[in-house]
Each structure stands twice: as structure tokens, then as C-alpha cells.
């Protein structure tokens, strides 16, 4: 887009077009309030809504039964099931082949610590070992291993599939063009949409969960692989060619090793998405940490939920840190004459620890596994403490106050207002927003996407979803952006907050429900609260990053021009940081769409709830329609905001 910086030269006047659309929307809304608007303009009449769900069902049934896909997937299922059983046996002693497990917890913790040491020194060793020791001592070893056993199967599979597709997309432009749009839809589809097809095609239970997990984790791996391969320096490629590499040698010895970092970043994302998804697949009967957490939260056992939450968080942080340490780990040479033992001391140590602890566990059972009643779980006491704390008058009046203010003065009026606007007016407003930020193309996309949502027949629920997202993101902005601005003032605090954000982003989204439920119980405020916390993370993070990356000369120029701190912030730093902040805003909205669907678990009236209901049955068509509604709304924002950010970056010469 070479002409992008000259937007003003465009004959299509964006602001005027946007104003026109906005005006129409206002007129329509006014008419509605004056009760002059015919009802078919307020909401699309039922009769005009095409039965998308039924059509999709026909298509799915055709694929499933007539094309024999079900037979194929059931065949695949048995293969995957065997692998899962084997890993289940090794990790938590499922009675299947090879009947070796379970591994003693001390052995696992020991090996994890050694790997941690190898990748990142003592601190990582302590984190990795500590995570597993905690898990065992708190009495969650078995459920944690149930989760891990699926993870170790799903992540490598997702990696291999994603890598192959990534290479194919890099090699053949037409594949790249074909899968790009599919990938962007897949990445915005709410996770519930992955679950039902998995259930239908792969039977309920771990297999379906593993399958959904794999599919969910593939897209970023493809993207990172393609990106990494495209980024390989042309000189390295030429050096390979001049060294006489054949095509396969180029890929094997030049491209893949040079793209190592990006591919490993992909691995990191695969692992984290797999963990998040394995936890969430509890909804379709995957045993493990997720299922336990779901059960505990459902019965409002806050103490145990809290403990499981900590386990999940520790596991997430450990896996994230270890895989990130692997990204930056560079090969180091040994001095000449280093003995074999010295060069492989970590490997030797790991094997020794594993064998040692395994043998020890034969003698001392406690080293092998910690039984019921031997753990240190404080679930009940914690539960009592938390509930006691919440019952204190002061605390209760605060949480109640927040709830009341939010519900009665902010959330409900906002929701009712959004619901009162006629459908075409909402679409017009969105289009106006898209045109003024993006351009004509974005306007058309917004119109088509929201038009489809209107036609889906789930308009009201979509609007409630949208309202939750917007409300939560607005609150998150009110807190997150000032926090980011403040933190960016000092080197020390930016670093701390960035680390906190990084860490928070590795948590499976489910975790965010725990503090919200603790504070607000199972209410709509808890939903908005959890989305707010979740959406705040990228907002704060990108605000800091945007402000910190403002070129030094510009702030110096502002200083020399005699700007006060505030003037500098408003006139120099924020305008330059805005495109980066927009990326954070965009992520916040995407996160919010995800979270609002997950939050359906604690009772909302949006698409998420309907989606969750479909899981109980076999409404594949409806499941897809609902999922795509969410995806279309999310994509609209994604397209518009990212377009705006790129335009702005180009105009500011920041690219």
C-alpha cells in the first residue's frame, strides 16, 4: 500500500461517509424511540432469517455419513486413543500397555529440575522442580498428570502438523493464500466451537479433547513457521546455494536451523495453547485439572479452586519459561579435551536422578506417590478463610457496592441501550466506525460481517456478547492505560509490569474466573470482572511498549523545545505510541471475546451460554452458527483496528 500515507488525496472522503452512516443510524434510533419505526426495521422478522443451522447440519451430515468422514475419524480415534493410553499409563498409571507407570513424582520433579537447569540455570530448575513438588504435596498429582499426559501427546502432534503446513505454505504461494483466511477465522473462533465437532467426530472423553486441543494449537505454529522461513537472511540462503545444497539440503541444513528461533516461539505458543485448551476441554469430559477446577467452582469450593488454580498457573509459567529459555538458548562450545561425561553431565544427572528415585520408590512408597490424607491441601481451611473474609461487613459492602454501581448504573443501562437500537442502526454505526478508522474496504467488510450476524437469528445474544466485550474493555482501558503510562515513566517499573503481563498472559483464560468469582460470586459482575482483568493485560503491556519505544531523539527534541512532562506525553509520546497501543486494544478485544464465551460457565445470556448448551446435544449446525457469529464480530474489529494501526504507523514513518 504505497499510497497509504496520502489518505487525504483519496477521492473517497472517509469522515464524510462515516458521518453520513452515523446520521442515518441516529435517525433510525430516534424513530424507534418515537415508536414510528416499523418493527421489521427494528429486528429482522423470524421469517426472514434463513435456517443456516439446518443447512449446515445437512452439509455436516453429508460429510459425516455419506462421505464416510466419520469412519475415517473413528479410525483415527483408535490410533490416538492408543497413544493417549500409553502416555496415560506412564504418567498416572492407567491400566494399559505398556504397564510401566506411573512414574514416581520424585523422579518427574527431579528430571524437570535438571531440564530447567540445563535450559535456564538454577532459577528455572527451582521453578520446574518446585512446580511438581507442589503438585504432589498438595495432593493433585494424579489429576495434574492426567492433564500432562494429554499435553505430551497433543503438543508434539500439533507441532509436527503445524510445521509441515507452515513449510508447505512457505514453499507454495497458493497454499499460503488458501490457508491464510482460514487461519484467521480459526484463531478468532471461540473455543466452544472446537469442542462439539471433536465430540461428534472423535467420541466424548480424552480423545475428543486431545483432538480439539491439537486443532486449536495448529494455526500459530503454521504462522510462525512460515514467518520464520521467510525471514531467513538472503545471504545465508545464497551461502547455502553457493555451498552446493540441493533443495532438500537447503531446507534441512539452512532454512530450518536458521528459522530455529521463530519455530521455537511457535513451539512455545503450541505448548501454551495446548495447556489452555486441555484445561477447557473439561467441558467435554476431559479428566484432569480442568475437570476438577470446573467441579470445584461449580460447587463454590473456593479453597480447592484456588489451589488448583495455583497448580495450573505454576504449570503454565514453568512450561512457558522453559520453552522460552529454549528459544534463546544458544549452542556453546566446550574447550578441547572435555570428557564425554563432562559434555553430557546434565543428561547423565537426569538419568541418574530418574533411576535413583524410581528405585527408591520401591523401598519407600511415599517417594513414589502421595496418598490420600498424606497431602498438605488446605482446601477447606482456605475456603473458610476466603468466605469468612468476604463475609466481613466492610468487605461485603465494598464488593456489594461495586456490584451495585456497575450493574445498576453502568452495565444494565448500557446493555438496554444497545438492545434498544434497531438492528440496521447498529450495523450502520459499526460501518461508520470501520470507515472512519479503516477505509472503504473495511466498511464493506464490517457491513457484510454484521449483516451476516443479523441474518444468523442470534442478534440479541450477539449484542449482549458485544456489550459485555465493550463494557469490559472500556473498564480495562480506564485502569490499564493509566497503569501503563505510569509504569513507562521508570525503567524499573516498566520491566516489572511487563514481566507481570507476560506471566499473566501465559495463564489459561479459565484461571481468570477464579478471582472474579471469589470477589463477586456467580453474577454478571463477575463475568465483566474476569473479562476486565483478562483484557487489561494486553492494554497495559502495549501501552508500556508503545511509550518505551518512542524514539529517544523525539523526546529529547520535546525536552529541548521546553515541553512539560504533560505536554510531552500528550503531544509527542502518546501520538507516537498510539499505533502500538491500538495493537494492544485489538488484542484486548480479541481476549474479551474469548473470555466472554468462557464466562458463560458462570451464567450469562450471551452466545456463550447457547454455545455451551449445544455441547450437550449434537447441534453441530447451531454450534457453528454461534461460533461464527463470535468470529465475525471479532474479525471485524481485528480488520479495522489493525488496518488503522498500519496506516498510522506508515504515516508516522515508524515501520
Amino acid at each position: 500500500m504505497a499510497d497509504a500515507p496520502y489518505v487525504t488525496a483519496n477521492p473517497f472522503n472517509r469522515s464524510r461517509a462515516a458521518l453520513l452512516f452515523l446520521g442515518c443510524a441516529v435517525v433510525l434510533t430516534m424513530l424507534q424511540y418515537a415508536a414510528l419505526l416499523p418493527s421489521w426495521l427494528h429486528r429482522l422478522p423470524e421469517t426472514m432469517i434463513p435456517p443456516f443451522a439446518a443447512w449446515l447440519d445437512v452439509v455436516f451430515n453429508f460429510i459425516k455419513d455419506d462421505l464416510g468422514l466419520l469412519k475415517l475419524t473413528r479410525f483415527l480415534t483408535s490410533g490416538l486413543e492408543n497413544v493417549l493410553d500409553a502416555s496415560g499409563n506412564i504418567f498416572f498409571g492407567k491400566r494399559r500397555w505398556p504397564n510401566l507407570g506411573p512414574m514416581p513424582w520424585t523422579a518427574v520433579a527431579g528430571v524437570a529440575a535438571v531440564i530447567g537447569y540445563y535450559l535456564g540455570g538454577w532459577r528455572l530448575a527451582a521453578l520446574a522442580g518446585g512446580t511438581f513438588v507442589w503438585t504432589a504435596l498438595i495432593g493433585q498429582w494424579k489429576i495434574a498428570m492426567e492433564t500432562v499426559s494429554v499435553l505430551v501427546v497433543a503438543a508434539p502432534l500439533a507441532f509436527i502438523i503445524g510445521l509441515s503446513w507452515g513449510i508447505a505454505a512457505w514453499k507454495y504461494e497458493w497454499i499460503n493464500k488458501a490457508i491464510k483466511p482460514v487461519l484467521s477465522v480459526l484463531q478468532t473462533l471461540p473455543f466452544f466451537t472446537y469442542l462439539l465437532p471433536a465430540v461428534i467426530f472423535f467420541k466424548v472423553g480424552p480423545t475428543a479433547g486431545a483432538m480439539a486441543t491439537i486443532v486449536y494449537a495448529i494455526p500459530p505454529m503454521i504462522l510462525m513457521t512460515t514467518l520464520g522461513l521467510q525471514k531467513v537472511s538472503p545471504e545465508v540462503v545464497e551461502a547455502g546455494k553457493m555451498s552446493g545444497c540441493s533443495r532438500f539440503q537447503m531446507l534441512r541444513h539452512v532454512y530450518l536451523p536458521s528459522a530455529r528461533s521463530d519455530i521455537l516461539v511457535g513451539v512455545n505458543q503450541v505448548i501454551m495453547l495446548c495447556l489452555a485448551m486441555v484445561v477447557l476441554t473439561a467441558f467435554i469430559g476431559m479428566p484432569g485439572l480442568g475437570a476438577k477446577l470446573l467441579a470445584m467452582m461449580g460447587s463454590f469450593k473456593l479453597g480447592r479452586s484456588f489451589e488448583i488454580g495455583i497448580t495450573i498457573v505454576l504449570l503454565a509459567v514453568t512450561l512457558d519459561r522453559m520453552s522460552k529459555a529454549w528459544v534463546i538458548k544458544q549452542p556453546v562450545h566446550f574447550e578441547k579435551g572435555t570428557s564425554w561425561l563432562n559434555r553430557h553431565k546434565t543428561l547423565v544427572l537426569a538419568v541418574c536422578l530418574f533411576v535413583g528415585f524410581t528405585l527408591l520408590s520401591k523401598v519407600i512408597p511415599l517417594v513414589g506417590s502421595i496418598g490420600r490424607g498424606q497431602d498438605f491441601s488446605q482446601g477447606r481451611e482456605l475456603d473458610r478463610a476466603i468466605k469468612g473474609f468476604l463475609a466481613i461487613d466492610g468487605v461485603q459492602s465494598v464488593t456489594y457496592g461495586i456490584r451495585y454501581v456497575l450493574n445498576v448504573w453502568v452495565l444494565n443501562p448500557f446493555r438496554d441501550f444497545m438492545l434498544s437500537i434497531p438492528t440496521p442502526a447498529v450495523i450502520l454505526i459499526i460501518v461508520a466506525f470501520a470507515i472512519s478508522l479503516g477505509g472503504r474496504r473495511e466498511g464493506i467488510i464490517a457491513g457484510v460481517f454484521f449483516g451476516l450476524v443479523a441474518l444468523s437469528g442470534w442478534w440479541d445474544r450477539s449484542i449482549i456478547t458485544l456489550y459485555s466485550v465493550l463494557a469490559a474493555v472500556s473498564i480495562a482501558m480506564l485502569i490499564g492505560i493509566p497503569l501503563g503510562v505510569w509504569a513507562s515513566r521508570s525503567e524499573k517499573w516498566s520491566r516489572r509490569i511487563l514481566i507481570a503481563c507476560d506471566t499473566a498472559q501465559t495463564f489459561p483464560s479459565f484461571i481468570y474466573l477464579i478471582p472474579a468469582i471469589m470477589l463477586f460470586g456467580i453474577t454478571a459482575t463477575a463475568v465483566v470482572g474476569s473479562i476486565t482483568i483478562f483484557a487489561m493485560v494486553p492494554l497495559t503491556r502495549y501501552t508500556i511498549e508503545g511509550l518505551r519505544t518512542v524514539p529517544l531523539e523525539m523526546t529529547e527534541a520535546a525536552d529541548m523545545a521546553g515541553a512539560t512532562r504533560m505536554q510531552k506525553l500528550m503531544n509527542v509520546e502518546l501520538p507516537l505510541a498510539l499505533p502500538t497501543m491500538a495493537v494492544g486494544f485489538n488484542q484486548a478485544i480479541m481476549f474479551a471475546f474469548f473470555m466472554v464465551i468462557i464466562a458463560a460457565f458462570i451464567g450469562t445470556q450471551d452466545l456463550g451460554q447457547e454455545l455451551q448448551r449445544t455441547l450437550a446435544g449434537t447441534d453441530l449446525g447451531k454450534n457453528f452458527v454461534l461460533g461464527i457469529c463470535v468470529s465475525l464480530m471479532a474479525l471485524t474489529f481485528d480488520v479495522v483496528i489493525m488496518k488503522w494501526a498500519t496506516q498510522k504507523k506508515q504515516a508516522l514513518g515508524l515501520t
Binding site: S233, E235, V236, E238, A239, G240, K241, M242, S243, G244, C245, S246, Q249, H253, V254, P257, S258, R260, Q330, P331, V332, H333, F334, E335, K336
Partner: protein, 339 residues
């Protein structure tokens, strides 16, 4: 020299970048200027270049960035497919080679050094140097032996197990040079090998390079944007602008008789007395009298003699044989900077 087949011979070579360069070039008159072609949406990377490189010669291609020098050298090794013209390497048209034969050619005859080194970050010095040998399937023992040999040659002994990022820029480029020499190539391409280095290191590497060249006596195509470097190293210099060669000649001739205004601008600030040698000044028709001087002496080296001598013409010998004589007045003009 002209009797043997040139090592590289290119005739009317074009490399045009754009949507459909072949069709575009076919319908475009060859005298269309670089800027006009850019208006049409095409970039002439290499524009109608004809050039021979001879056995054992060091040809330096000089030009500013974007002048097409890197593109040209990549055409010689078919890293770029040319749009029109022919390139022959030792009499073989490389454009007609099948992929396998091209790979064989590179594996046996060509070595290349890159500006930003192009080292594989995940391989140690030894493995980087041995890479071309590995690619052509040599066994581990032989390739290790050969790699150690070249590593010693470039003075990196004892660093075999280091990784590229553990080395300084100069050392990394030594690895790049060692790698390009591992297969004992006949033709050696160097694409601005010293441009990314600090001035002091650059000087050191140039000396090192001259030392290697004296030992190995390869056919070399060397690219640089640094005119001083070109003058220091070259047997012949080809100056490029907008994809075309402005002048291709010995350093003396380029300095003394620039063919175009563009070339003259380059030579303006050069201390000619350091560049011009007795051999370049010598006129065959003259004989002179008295003690002869060696053709390799620069005017500056002869300064004292030029001032103290009284002869009008001074005879010049190359390898013991008289090749003519030069005018002392002309040499003095160069020395004193008079026009």
C-alpha cells in the same frame, strides 16, 4: 592472454526486475534509460553488460549501492536467473545447465564470500567451514581435515569449536573466507567482504586477502563500493552505474583517463601519485635512455628520482624486459597534482 578461453565471459547480459521482465525487455529498445525503465515499473539491475574475466585475474566491480554490482556477480553464479544475454563459465553456458549440473558446478568450482558473512548460526566454525564439503557428501574425517587446513590458512586456529556469535566481525569474515575456500574453488566471488568491518580491521583483512591471493592465485571477482579498496586490490576495475558498466580498465587508466564524467568524479580526490605506476605511464613508442625503472613502481615511490633526474624520458622494464618509456614531465605533473 586473449588466446585462452576467459574464465567468465558474459555478453549483453540483462537482469531486469519487475512483473514480466522477459516480455518487457523483448519489446523495449535497448537504449531506454534506467530512469525511463523505472517509470515503466521495471528495474534494470544489470543493463547490457559484456565483460570477460581471465584466468588468475582480480576484477574489482565498483559502484555505489544500487548500481547493480551485487546483482551482476549473482548472475555469474546463477543465484539470479538473467533476463537476456549469455554467461559462459570456462566455455560452458551456465544458463543451459540443469539444476543438478549447476549444483555440481558450485560444489566444485565456485566459492563466495558475503558482506554480512552469511554464516549458519547453529554451526560451529568447523562445521560452517566444512559445510560445502558436507553438502557434496564427503566423509566426516576428510572434511574435518580439509576444514582445519583452511581454518589454519585464515588464522583461526584454536577457534574451531566456537560459534559465529562468539566471534568478532573480522573473525566471522575469516570463517566466511575459509568456507568459500574449502572446496578449492577456481573462481572466487567476494561481495563487499570487508564493508561491514571497522576501518582498522578492514585494512588488516585486505592485507590478509592479498597474502592469500598471492598464495592461491585464484580468478577473483571482488565487489566493493570503496574506490580506495578497489585501487588497492584490482588488476582491473569495472565501474558500474544504474546497472551498466561505465568503464572497465586498469587502475592507472581509470585514474589517468576516466571514460565518463561519472568516473572522473570518483577519481577527483584520489592521490594519483599513489595509484599510477611506471608501467601505466609508459609509452611503447619511446625508448628513453639510462637506468630503467620497474613497471610496478608508483609515481610516489619514484618521487625523489623524478625530481632529481634530468632525463626527458625514463625507460621502464617489466620482468626484466623493456616495455617503453614515460615522460618525466608527465609523471611530475601527477606527483605535484598539476593539471
Amino acid at each position: 592472454m586473449s588466446s585462452e578461453i576467459p574464465v567468465i565471459s558474459c555478453k549483453n547480459v540483462w537482469k531486469v526486475f519487475g512483473a514480466d521482465p522477459k516480455a518487457y525487455l523483448a519489446k523495449t529498445p535497448p537504449d531506454r534509460s534506467f530512469d525511463d525503465m523505472r517509470e515503466d515499473g521495471y528495474i534494470a539491475g544489470v543493463k547490457d553488460v559484456s565483460l570477460d574475466v581471465h584466468q588468475g585475474e582480480m576484477l574489482v566491480i565498483m559502484g555505489l549501492s544500487g548500481s547493480g554490482k551485487s546483482t551482476l556477480v549473482r548472475c555469474f553464479s546463477r543465484l539470479h536467473e538473467i533476463t537476456a544475454g549469455t554467461i559462459e563459465v570456462e566455455g560452458q553456458d551456465i544458463m543451459s545447465l540443469a539444476e543438478k549440473d549447476l549444483i555440481d558446478l558450485r560444489r566444485s568450482k565456485m566459492g563466495m564470500v558475503f558482506q554480512s558473512f552469511g554464516l549458519l548460526p547453529h554451526r560451529s566454525v568447523l562445521d560452517n567451514v566444512a559445510f560445502p564439503l558436507e553438502m557434496r557428501g564427503q566423509d566426516k574425517h576428510t572434511r574435518r581435515e580439509r576444514a582445519l587446513e583452511v581454518i589454519k590458512l585464515v588464522g583461526l586456529e584454536g577457534r574451531e569449536d566456537f560459534f559465529p556469535r562468539e566471534l568478532s566481525g573480522g573473525q566471522q569474515q575469516r570463517v566466511g573466507i575459509a568456507r568459500s575456500l574449502a572446496i578449492e574453488p577456481d573462481i572466487w566471488f567476494l561481495d563487499e567482504p570487508f564493508s561491514a568491518l571497522d576501518p582498522l580491521i578492514r585494512k588488516e583483512m585486505q592485507d590478509e586477502f592479498l597474502r592469500l591471493q598471492q598464495m592461491l592465485n585464484k580468478t577473483i571477482v571482488f565487489i566493493t563500493h570503496d574506490f580506495d579498496e578497489a585501487l588497492r586490490l584490482a588488476d582491473r576495475i569495472a565501474i558500474m552505474k544504474d546497472g551498466a558498466i561505465e568503464q572497465c580498465d586498469t587502475p592507472d587508466k581509470i585514474v589517468l583517463r576516466p571514460a565518463t564524467e561519472y568516473v572522473r568524479k570518483f577519481t577527483e580526490d584520489v592521490d594519483k601519485s599513489r595509484v599510477v605506476r611506471a608501467g601505466g605511464l609508459a609509452e611503447v613508442s619511446q625508448t628513453g635512455e639510462g637506468d630503467p625503472v620497474d613497471a610496478g613502481l608508483s609515481v610516489q615511490k619514484m618521487a625523489r628520482m623524478l625530481i632529481e633526474d634530468t632525463r626527458e624520458f625514463i625507460p621502464v622494464i617489466r620482468k626484466g624486459k623493456p616495455i617503453g618509456a614515460f615522460s618525466r614531465a608527465e609523471a611530475l605533473d601527477i606527483l605535484l597534482g598539476d593539471q
